[in-house]
């Protein structure tokens, strides 16, 4: 499924994007290539920053957990990368085509009684390819069916989504993500409120994505799981606390620093940021 997925879009996007970037990337030599780079990113709601001067890069094919206390700006950062929120200052730069980014929000605000079948929902993953009008090819449909099977829902293709459990519905959303063939996949608390078996199965799906060369960034709160399943972690508390191999990033010292930063957010009076 992952054939030719990462290579071409990246090169294409780089050759297109490079002349316009203020700081061109070392596209020729660097291996692996950065799929996504945060340049001093600040995102504020009503002037109060929720993501504050964060810089760094996600390598192609990396699997990174986004960790931090409640209100640390994890969801906000993911939304901004997905293009659903404007960046207040700084820039988010992509080494891939903007259309090759897939995003799964924490709460998918859908009407579960909506008269759609599992396969209808998964077929929507082809949107970038077929748009509003074009017909789905037989191959597209086969991709959907295969995706449904690989999230463990084989045989339920024609089940109305209203009859699914919460866990099964999350599997459907993962199948839709899979169909999107995205080079960069953003997951916001993907294992929240689902049973352990489903969480474990979906984690395997995420691992497969990484093996296929896709880049995955997932906001998570279960530190044990991050240490166990994720090679890299980004610890933030509005500010960047640490970013690197998961075990080092989640050191007691770093976590204490994040907690300390979080304690200062309740102060309503704030001066204008001088940075």
């Amino acid at each position: 499924m992952g054939r030719g997925l990462v290579g071409n879009p990246i090169e294409a996007a780089l050759s297109r994007a490079a002349p316009h970037e203020s700081r061109p990337w070392p596209a020729s030599q660097a291996q692996p290539v950065d799929v996504l780079r945060l340049d001093d990113v600040t995102i504020a709601y009503d002037r109060h920053p929720v993501v504050h001067h964060i810089s760094g890069a996600f390598e192609g094919g990396s699997l990174t957990a986004l960790v931090g206390p409640n209100g640390a700006g994890k969801s906000t950062l993911l939304k901004a990368i997905a293009g659903l929120l404007p960046v207040t200052a700084g820039a988010i730069r992509f080494g891939i085509d903007r259309g090759a980014v897939a995003y799964l929000p924490q709460v998918v605000d859908v009407d579960r009684s909506f008269p759609l079948r599992v396969v209808d929902v998964v077929d929507f993953g082809h949107w970038r390819k077929v748009g509003a009008l074009r017909r789905l090819s037989g191959e597209d449909r086969a991709v959907s069916v295969a995706a449904i099977a690989s999230v463990g829902l084989a045989g339920l293709e024609h089940q109305p989504i209203g009859k699914l459990s919460v866990g099964q519905f999350q599997r459907v959303l993962f199948a839709r993500l899979m169909v999107q063939e995205a080079a960069l996949i953003l997951l916001d608390e993907p294992f929240n409120a689902i049973d352990q078996k489903t969480a474990a199965d979906l984690m395997n799906v995420v691992r497969d994505w990484q093996t296929e060369g896709r880049t995955v960034v997932a906001a998570l709160h279960d530190l044990e799981q991050v240490r166990r399943d994720f090679p890299d972690a980004l610890l933030m508390a509005r500010e960047l606390v640490a970013w690197g191999p998961a075990r080092q990033t989640l050191s007691d010292e770093n976590l204490e620093r994040a907690r300390h930063l979080a304690a200062s957010w309740t102060d309503p009076a704030a001066a204008i940021c001088a940075r």
Partner: protein, 291 residues
């Protein structure tokens, strides 16, 4: 057999006005069915009601300018209702108001303005015509308007079908993959208004909503596929059109309300025995399966 044939077809064979009423209703059924289904799916079932009132001042302005001219009144109604719908849509996106609240505000202003305008010149009879129509006196131009609106509706719906479904189901996803959900929604609202204006002379704006909503809500009680819902909705609308016209002919009653009441009967029937969540299903205990 001959008796039944006569009973069902004689009114239409004998009288031109019955045939015209039938054609008008059938054309409206074909477009009102799918429009209603999407209103139900968008949880905007009552929105049509508000829109029908928004048409009034436009129709009244048309009436004041050009007298009882179908085209002037339709155009006026179309323009004002579109302004109300779009203003509500835009306000719901840029202010904290939800769409229904924004719409309620605008349509009430519009309705009050309409009643005021009608009272300036015209009578309450004219107002009743706009709200309830005169199905047995459908003019040629009204037929053309209805047929045209119906055709445009079906074609445009086909174009925005996928976008509209995804915009109803998961607008966040549609936005993330770069779909034009807002545009599809605005286009859809325009179609709602177009159908209501087209139905104005035949059924009246209030009754036109009946032909949109009753078949669509009935359809929801029979099937869980959007395609089939649209089919069932059109079928219910067609059936109630024919039944209503025949009933009104023999009982010598107003035909618009008769058509809508027929649709209402089918709705109550669907509520009772609908295969997808009808009341009967609730009270019949069937033994549970092994897994």
């Amino acid at each position: 057999m001959q008796l039944l044939f006569d009973f069902l077809f004689q009114p239409f064979i004998e009288f031109g006005f019955m045939r015209r009423a039938l054609v008008a209703c059938l054309a409206l059924s074909i477009s009102a069915g799918p429009i209603g289904v999407f209103l139900v799916l968008r949880r905007m079932a009552l929105m049509g009601d508000a829109m029908s009132h928004a048409i009034l001042p436009g129709a009244a302005i048309g009436f004041l300018v050009a007298g009882l001219s179908l085209w002037a009144m339709s155009l006026g109604g179309l323009i004002v209702a579109l302004i109300v719908a779009l203003a509500a849509g835009v306000m719901s996106r840029i202010t904290p108001l939800k769409e229904d609240a924004a719409l309620a505000g605008f349509f009430l202003i519009s309705l009050a303005l309409g009643v005021l305008l009608v009272s300036v010149k015209g009578s309450s009879v004219d107002l009743l015509h706009i709200l309830f129509g005169t199905l047995l006196a459908v003019s040629n131009s009204a037929l053309v308007l209805i047929a045209g609106a119906s055709t445009i509706t079906v074609l445009v719906l086909a174009l925005i079908y996928r976008t509209l479904i995804l915009e109803c189901f998961d607008p966040g996803f549609l936005r993330a993959v770069g779909g034009r959900g807002g545009l599809a929604h605005a286009t859809f609202l325009a179609l709602v208004v177009l159908n209501m204006v087209a139905a104005m002379q035949a059924l009246g704006t209030l009754m036109a909503i009946g032909l949109m909503m009753l078949p669509a809500t009935s359809a929801r009680l029979w099937t869980i596929s959007i395609g089939r819902m649209i089919g069932v909705a059109v079928l219910v609308a067609v059936l109630s059109s024919v039944a209503g016209l025949i009933f009104s002919y023999y009982a010598n009653l107003p035909s618009g309300p008769a058509v809508i009441l027929s649709a209402g009967l089918l709705y109550l029937l669907s509520l009772a025995v609908g295969s997808n969540g009808g009341l009967l299903r609730r009270y019949i205990r069937r033994p549970h399966l092994e897994h």
